[in-house]
């Protein structure tokens, strides 16, 4: 057994995995949806079509609940590196710490500032200024995602550094930031965020058309969203394949775990080219108990040749091998979801080509609409699976090839690790269930009670609208005015 799977280290990994897994539920929506809000706002301003405005304000309510949950779970994230992985934080401080510092200072300052303007600024600042605020929310959240991916990708391919006095010091900032894994890792995550946000819109549309509420409005939304998805979903599959090959070159153990690929050569001395559809790894982690195997496919995938050599787990000592179960299956689930979402995009656009993309025709196809609602949840699962593949595939290293996970874990007894885990199960689930409860409330309310944009600069009505926009917060006032009025 590798040390990483002994109880103290396993619990330490689980503690961190839990809080990261619960945090990644919120951020992709913020990153992806902010750009879609921007596009919808542009569409409203250019065409003057009131429907874009209504959808924007409706989605914004969901966006802001989601943002709050992201902040609540994110504060813990920031502290958790030092709490749970103190020696790791110290050793990687010169690069990783700097990058995380960049992320907190730029993202919090930048994003928090413009989100306030975006949510509370309707009718208070000019339309152009508001559009600028929305644009900056998109830009800042994507920047934040970029820094986080720089940091994490560097853990996969630690380029541009040298080890001195126990610290990973920077030799070349450019190489360290634009490390091998980052070049495809960041696009993969960023496109995943956009895909998630698009499917959230698609799912909402499916739901409302299915319930026959504002069906025309949501059909209007469905058309461009599906069109975007016919581009985004295959692009994501292509990027996924590209990062797969980077992993094959830079992290052969991770790739071998993802594919359950134990033997570089078959017993008869030929190159093992078989790809497993399903596999059950054995307890010793040196072979499969059972597998359904298709020859040549693995070589085709990783080397794009029929008989190319793919390094298997047996090329590495047992103490350097990651566990196979999680990377193998979570990778397959992620890929399956990627293709399923591509299929949904094709289905939708095929209906469009046949002229069926209108409320009456769609309502004759409830299964299509149900599939859309179902698809809104899948990107969350795919993102989870992708991160589990990435993080567990990198084991037993915390910094690939340079620092083992057990060397980076903080000094703490097992009892404390359990207390942390149980406590965060309670608190993170409270955040999660609460947010979902409010999502359903917002969706139940729908778009009908959102006042027209013509009321925006008519302050008697604008005040009511803004109370709702903040999730019901007090009108943030540029604020003396409404208060003074009640004073009189």
């Amino acid at each position: 057994m590798v040390i990483e799977n002994s109880l103290p280290i396993l619990l330490s990994r689980l503690d961190f995995a839990w809080i990261t897994s619960m945090h990644i539920l919120w951020t992709p929506m913020t990153i992806g949806m902010s750009w879609l809000l921007f596009i919808m706002e542009v569409a409203w301003l250019r065409t003057g079509d009131e429907r874009w405005y209504k959808i924007n304000r409706f989605v914004e309510k969901i966006f802001i609940i989601n943002f709050g949950a992201g902040v609540a779970t994110g504060v813990t994230m920031e502290m958790a590196f030092g709490i749970l992985y103190g020696p790791f934080s110290q050793a990687v401080g010169p690069f990783f710490g700097n990058i995380l510092g960049f992320e907190t200072i730029t993202a919090f300052m930048y994003e928090a500032g413009f989100i306030g303007l975006m949510v509370f600024g309707w009718g208070k600042i000019s339309k152009g200024m508001h559009l600028f605020a929305t644009f900056n929310v998109g830009l800042s959240s994507s920047l934040s995602a970029m820094w986080i991916l720089v940091a994490n990708s560097w853990m996969q391919t630690p380029d541009g550094i040298f080890l001195k006095n126990g610290l990973f010091q920077v030799k070349n900032w450019w190489q360290a930031i634009f490390n091998d894994n980052f070049q495809w890792g960041f696009p993969h995550m960023w496109v995943a965020c956009v895909e998630l946000a698009l499917f959230a819109l698609v799912g909402l549309s499916g739901f409302f058309i299915l319930k026959n509420r504002n069906a025309d409005l949501f059909t209007k939304l469905l058309k461009p969203t599906l069109l975007a998805l016919i581009i985004v979903t295959p692009v994501q599959i292509f990027i996924g394949d590209s990062i797969g090959r980077v992993v094959a070159q830079t992290q052969p153990t991770s790739l071998a775990a993802m594919e359950g690929h134990y033997h570089t050569y078959l017993p008869d001395g030929k190159v093992n080219t078989g790809w497993h559809l399903i596999a059950i790894p054995n307890a010793k982690n040196d072979g499969n108990v059972f597998a359904i195997t298709i020859p040549h496919v693995l070589s085709l995938l990783e080397t794009h040749t029929l008989n190319g050599k793919v390094t298997g787990m047996d090329s590495f000592p047992a103490k350097d091998r990651p566990d196979v179960w999680v990377p193998f299956y979570s990778f397959r689930v992620m890929v399956a979801i990627g293709f399923f979402l591509f299929f949904i995009a094709i289905w939708g656009n095929w209906l469009r080509l046949r002229g069926k993309l209108n409320a009456t025709e769609l309502r004759k196809r409830p299964w299509f609409l149900r599939a859309l609602v179902f698809s809104a949840f899948l990107p969350y699962l795919a993102i989870w699976c992708g991160w589990w593949t990435r993080e567990i595939g990198r084991q037993p290293w915390v910094v690939n090839g340079l620092m083992r996970t057990y060397q980076g874990a903080s000094h703490m007894p097992v009892a404390m690790e359990i207390i942390w885990f149980v406590g965060y199960i309670i608190f993170e689930l409270a955040v999660w269930s609460g947010s979902w409860y409010f999502f359903t409330r917002v969706i139940k309310k729908g778009v009908d009670d959102i006042p027209d944009s013509s009321t925006l600069f008519d302050h008697d009505h604008a005040d009511d609208a803004d109370v709702k926009a903040g999730g019901g917060h007090v009108t943030p006032t540029f604020a003396s005015k409404p208060m003074l009025r009640s004073d009189r």
């Binding site: 103190g86 700097n98 404390m416 917060h473 943030p476």
Partner: protein
């Protein structure tokens, strides 16, 4: 000595970041301290309407204020990762409770508005979620002043050995926290926790006086609350100073050294500020009273950091030992310093926008 030597520049930059770290923590204490204190005040509210009104009074800015804590964390990780990785390990339990409080409080803000049957529960989550971070941040501060034991090698050695795994292959000169998880818990750190609650209660009282219209029930209750707590706060300052003098040689040596008169003058200025706060409070100039009160915090905070110098964590990490290598600190300085004035302007603007007094009814109605 060569004024342009790398070591000298790195030392200067590290000290600069030590000052910015102090600033970020101060801004957090000054801004979120009032919010947390108002939350502690809400522990004693008799009805949900009052708790709701208090929450509404800070709805527009509490998250902006709280983000200073995140900035302080980011500065610590970016400029002093050796402290970040060891001190947070040492402070695991107080930080954990503080974070749970912060999460409960953040969620309560959203849920209290929409809740119908569970309003009471979320009101309490807000109040207790204000008490916890205050108390445990105070405990963490006191514990940090005491310093903590460190060693190099494998951090998890003992926990692994307890589970039958023996590892001796890991060598590193980096010093990490090596004490027990309850090391933070001493009479002094519990006292600083209590002291933090008292200080925040005073700040919260002053804030509520400034936020609510004179004559409003909340305003009146906050007035008498402030009168009582201000006496407690004065006593707490004196007790903390004497206690620190008794147990911290690095503090007593500095305070009674050749520059003793500077500290004395400083203390007199603190008393003047406290007196001004008190007279303004009596004269019902509530905003001025709050600002003088924050001035007291600023003066004491600055004195504390001056006493700590040249340490980041007394007797544990000096600025030079804890700082990042020269090129990392240079890169951090180059890209991050400029954000500080922008962040301060933004936070100020946010507070400015949400100024103006409330009444209980009005706030609750808008809530």
């Amino acid at each position: 000595m060569d004024i342009l030597s790398i070591g000298r520049i790195a030392g200067t930059l590290s000290t600069w970041w030590w000052l910015l770290l102090s600033l970020a923590f101060f801004l957090y204490i000054a801004t979120d301290g009032t919010d947390l204190g108002a939350g502690i005040f809400a522990l004693f509210s008799k009805d949900e309407e009052e708790r709701g009104a208090i929450m509404a009074s800070m709805a527009g800015m509490w998250d902006g204020n709280e983000s200073w804590l995140v900035v302080a964390g980011g500065v610590l990780f970016g400029a002093f990762p050796l402290v970040y990785g060891s001190a947070f390990n040492y402070l695991m339990i107080p930080l954990m409770f503080a974070l749970w409080g912060i999460i409960a409080r953040a969620v309560a803000f959203e849920f209290h508005i929409h809740a119908k049957k569970s309003k009471r529960f979320w009101g309490w989550a807000f109040a207790v979620g204000s008490l916890f971070p205050t108390f445990f941040a105070g405990v963490a501060l006191g514990a940090t002043l005491q310093g903590f034991p460190m060693k190099s090698g494998l951090a998890m050695q003992s926990a692994l050995a307890a589970h039958g795994v023996n590892v001796h292959d890991y060598m590193t000169p980096v010093m990490h926290f090596s004490g027990g998880i309850l090391d933070f818990l001493t009479p002094f750190s519990i006292w600083t926790g209590v002291g933090a609650v008292i200080a925040a209660s005073l700040a919260g009282g002053l804030y509520l006086c400034a936020r609510f219209i004179p004559g409003d029930p909340i305003h009146e209750r906050a007035r008498s609350w402030t009168n009582v707590v201000s006496l407690l706060a004065l006593a707490a300052i004196v007790i903390t100073l004497i206690w620190s003098y008794a147990i911290f040689p690095w503090a007593s040596a500095k305070w009674t050294g050749s520059d003793w008169w500077v500290w004395l003058i400083w203390f007199v200025i603190v008393l003047i500020f406290a007196f001004k706060s008190s007279t303004n409070h009596s004269a019902r100039r509530d905003f001025s009273a709050m600002m003088w009160g924050i001035g007291v915090v600023a003066l004491l905070w600055a004195a504390m950091w001056a006493t700590i110098f040249p340490y980041v964590v007394p007797n544990t990490w000096t600025i030079v030992q804890a700082a990042n290598p020269a090129d990392s600190i240079a890169v951090f300085t180059l890209f991050m310093t400029g954000f500080f004035p922008i962040m301060i302007m933004y936070n100020w603007y946010q507070i400015w926008v949400f100024r103006g007094r409330f009444s209980k009814k009005m706030a609750y109605g808008a809530h």
